[in-house]
Subunit: 180 residues, 2 copies
DNA sequence: CCTGTCACCAAACGATCGTTCGGGAGAACA
DNA sequence: TGTTCTCCCGAACGATCGTTTGGTGACAGG
């Protein structure tokens, strides 16, 4: 079974999500692909580049399948409800682990190549949350609220992963809909 | 200059905060203490035990100097203001890095010895936030709000560390005072 | 002064880290 | 059929990982 670059990224996403960047070795990533670690360098020049490709892949998925739910012709409340539902479903299947958030705390502030990609992801997320809030709060305050809710969502995911408590995330999403 | 166990913990706190658990080597920790890595095993039996002592040290500091601000005879609003002010001052001097949050995402869910200590820290924090909220919201809802605000604070700290944006944290603390 | 005890050094342990390299199997194209 | 390219193996590289061990100088209690 031959692997494409995209296949490797797909397997690597799950390993990085569970063990973090420094906690994941090239041997771990290769094992998840069914190959030897040296063979990974046929697809990527380094571990950093593989991880950066993983960040791009996740961002692309959200940009294609989740953030667009916040826009469109539907009423703002429906759009916000669809957005929160999609986010909840995404992370429910991943036991609350947000790879972007984990990488942000582990290496985000130290390595600028990682930081710019993670910031772009959170900026897009905040903009998506802000969109349904604009009619009621105006552009400026909606942007601030968008960042607030993204922060609250990330913190709720931390509690979900740490203690298995999904109530903060549910309350966050309810508050987002109520604010729309 | 001879070091006590407490001295080592104090130096290790800063190193772990900046580089995370897996990103910090025993040689890094020893260098911060001005000794060789082998000498650390005179004070701690393993890297895990050193890190656990660091978690205990941070928790003890919050329990002694920050969480008590939420209790006492003062009006609830004053207590909440004092609490948020102390939290903001603590993390402002540490560029938004919360070691507990970072460890929670890096190893918290995987290693139960770490998870129980981090959960205890967040539980105490949520209880402190809940105390000034009880008169207005009742015990049950105050507890939920406490967890919500802790989550939001952690997310705001993530954005502060990642993008240098201190507005989400300021807005979180303003919301906490407004909710009291 | 003697005897421990304490904090630390210096060196090494096996294991694993990220990375490199030469080559081989198999499909694609001529 | 011959050639080229893609994907991967197998083995090794030097470096660093967490940890262990034996010993040394300083200091405290008797």
């Amino acid at each position: 079974m031959r692997l494409t670059r995209e296949d490797v990224v797909g397997r690597a996403v799950e390993v990085f999500r569970r063990r973090g960047f420094h906690g994941t070795s090239m041997a771990d990533l290769a094992a998840a692909c069914g190959i030897l670690k040296g063979s990974l360098y046929h697809h990527f020049p380094s571990k950093d580049d593989l991880a950066l490709a993983v960040l791009e892949d996740i961002h692309a998925h959200f940009r294609a399948a989740i953030f667009p739910l916040a826009h469109g012709p539907l009423p703002p409340t429906d759009r916000m409800a669809a957005l929160t539902r999609a986010v909840a479903a995404y992370f429910a299947g991943r036991d609350g682990s947000c790879l972007m958030g984990a990488f942000a705390l582990e290496i985000g502030a130290g390595d600028e190549r990682f930081a710019v990609r993670i910031r772009a992801y959170f900026d897009d997320w905040a903009a998506a949350v802000a969109a349904p809030l604009e009619p009621r709060h105006g552009v400026v305050e909606a942007q601030r609220l968008g960042r607030d809710f993204v922060a609250r969502t990330q913190g709720a995911l931390m509690l979900l992963k740490l203690a298995g408590d999904d109530e903060p995330l549910a309350r966050c999403h309810a508050a987002m809909i109520a604010a729309t």
